[in-house]
């Protein structure tokens, strides 16, 4: 990464009049925007948190690739069932109307384009929607891919939920992914701890920014050029 990028990272670290969202708040904002009635898969990481903050008044059906539709929130400790876990291997519950099925059917749903949305984590997202979220390329450790490539290639819409920059302050939204791809050109929307950005044919369009953040500041933390949506709004989450 360039030094310009590093200094942008430093700028955010020093605080510049804005407050980052927590991981749960990122999940909550994404959950709020899921259309009512959608069938949605929640990937490992920040997306999984969304299961516990689904908006009231909407009926959204959560899919887990280990063979569950209708995933509910995590159970009380006393109600944990070793046979009922989600794809992140966390204890979950089943909502009325939920169902269990074989793994190959879970992925038929994914690959066949039946999921309205998959919310995924990311190491990097490129301006053209390329997604890298399965390996950091660190050869000391065995890589793992899980269902990431199937979800990225199969769901009708891919939303990414991620911190805006790495722990070192480097942009995760980049001109071209340096890490191995999960799938090319699939990401439609990016929820970060400071912004909501749409990936469009005309480039990245900022829909929301946290209060106090300017487009210029956001641009220093983002490699591809950003434009601000005419109807952009402040990114505020309960």
């Amino acid at each position: 990464m360039s030094s310009a990028v590093s200094s942008a990272g430093t700028a955010t670290e020093s605080g510049a009049g804005f407050t980052k969202l927590t991981r749960l708040q990122i999940a909550r904002r994404a959950a709020e925007m899921i259309p009512d009635g959608s069938f949605v898969n929640l990937g490992i990481g920040i997306p999984t948190l969304a299961a516990n903050v689904m908006p009231e008044g909407k009926e959204i059906v959560l899919h887990s690739e280990n063979g569950i539709l209708g995933v509910g929130p995590g159970p009380a400790e006393a109600d944990r069932d070793r046979d009922l876990i989600n794809a992140s291997k966390e204890y979950v519950t089943l909502r009325p109307g939920g169902s269990f099925f074989v793994h190959s059917d879970a992925f038929a749903m994914i690959r066949g384009g039946h999921l309205d949305l998959a919310l995924l984590g990311a190491f990097q997202v490129a301006g053209n929607g390329d997604l890298a979220n399965w390996t950091t390329g660190d050869r000391r450790f065995p890589p793992g891919v899980g269902g990431a490539m199937d979800l990225a290639a199969g769901a009708k819409g891919i939303w990414v939920l991620t911190d805006h920059v790495t722990k070192k302050g480097e942009p995760k939204i980049v001109n071209a992914c340096s890490l191995p791809l999960t799938a090319p050109g699939v990401v439609k929307r990016i929820f970060t701890d400071i912004a909501v950005i749409d990936v469009t044919e005309g480039g990245l369009v900022v829909r929301e920014m946290v209060p106090g953040l300017t487009l210029e500041q956001l641009q220093t933390m983002t490699e591809p050029p950003l434009t601000l949506a005419e109807d952009w709004r402040e990114l505020v989450v309960a």
Partner: protein, 228 residues
């Protein structure tokens, strides 16, 4: 808002069907045929239809009536001719309906492929026969296989036994047949059921077609039935 896929009647169930559509119709023999939905399509007036179904209808109602109406210009099936398939036989003899004959297992697997996002698969069925003519044949580990492509549809008409408002389905005995794969393979899956149950009443271990594959459900107390 609660998800509610239940529609009030057959007309609402098939609303949107249009000329030129490809329509899957569940059933094997007389079991599992969504006869009420078929008559809904007939009543809609839609024409130039392609039908994907195991059989081509018998007698004078249901699929036979739809074919007899002249609105079906093409049928993709495994076994069109049966005792009583006179309406189809006549159209076929007159050259008024195209027939794509597909081995039954290939038919169901091609639908599953469409539903599962698989763009093609190699099957041993049909190798060395007339039905593999013009198709790619490829050898894997010393045996020949035919490349088959997915079969999808604009609309699937399915008969099931019970549904809830999410569209979860269970079937009854051998009436299950093609229903679950057709439900996966169509843009719009419409189901006629004998019973609607409250959400959560179905055993989650025993649901055959999970809600994600179903778009509309209509309750038909007494299926149209007739002898073959």
């Amino acid at each position: 808002m609660p998800i509610d896929k239940i529609v009030p009647d057959v007309a609402a169930a098939v609303a949107g069907v249009k000329d030129g559509d490809t329509i899957m119709i569940s059933g094997f023999g007389f079991a599992g045929v969504p006869n009420d939905l078929i008559h809904g399509v007939l009543d809609s007036g839609a024409k130039d239809l392609t039908v994907i179904s195991n059989n081509a209808g018998t007698g004078t109602e249901g699929l036979a009536a739809l074919i007899g109406s002249g609105r079906v210009t093409r049928i993709i099936c495994s076994y069109p001719r049966s005792k009583g398939s006179d309406l189809f036989d006549a159209r076929y003899a007159a050259g008024e309906i195209d027939l794509e004959l597909v081995p039954q297992g290939t038919l169901s697997e091609r639908m599953r492929a469409a539903g599962a996002g698989v763009a093609g698969f190699y099957t041993p069925t049909g190798v060395g026969t007339d039905l593999a003519e013009g198709k790619e044949v490829r050898n894997f580990d010393g045996r020949d296989y035919v490349l088959e492509l997915p079969l999808r549809a604009d609309l699937a008409l399915v008969q099931a036994y019970k549904a809830d408002r999410w569209g979860n389905l269970i079937y009854r005995k051998a009436a299950r047949n093609f229903g679950p794969v057709m439900a996966m393979a169509a843009d719009l899956t419409v189901v006629q059921v004998r019973e609607i149950v409250p959400l959560g009443e179905m055993d989650p271990e025993a649901i055959v077609t999970p809600s994600i594959f179903v778009d509309r459900v209509v309750h038909i107390d007494n299926d149209r039935e007739w002898d073959i």
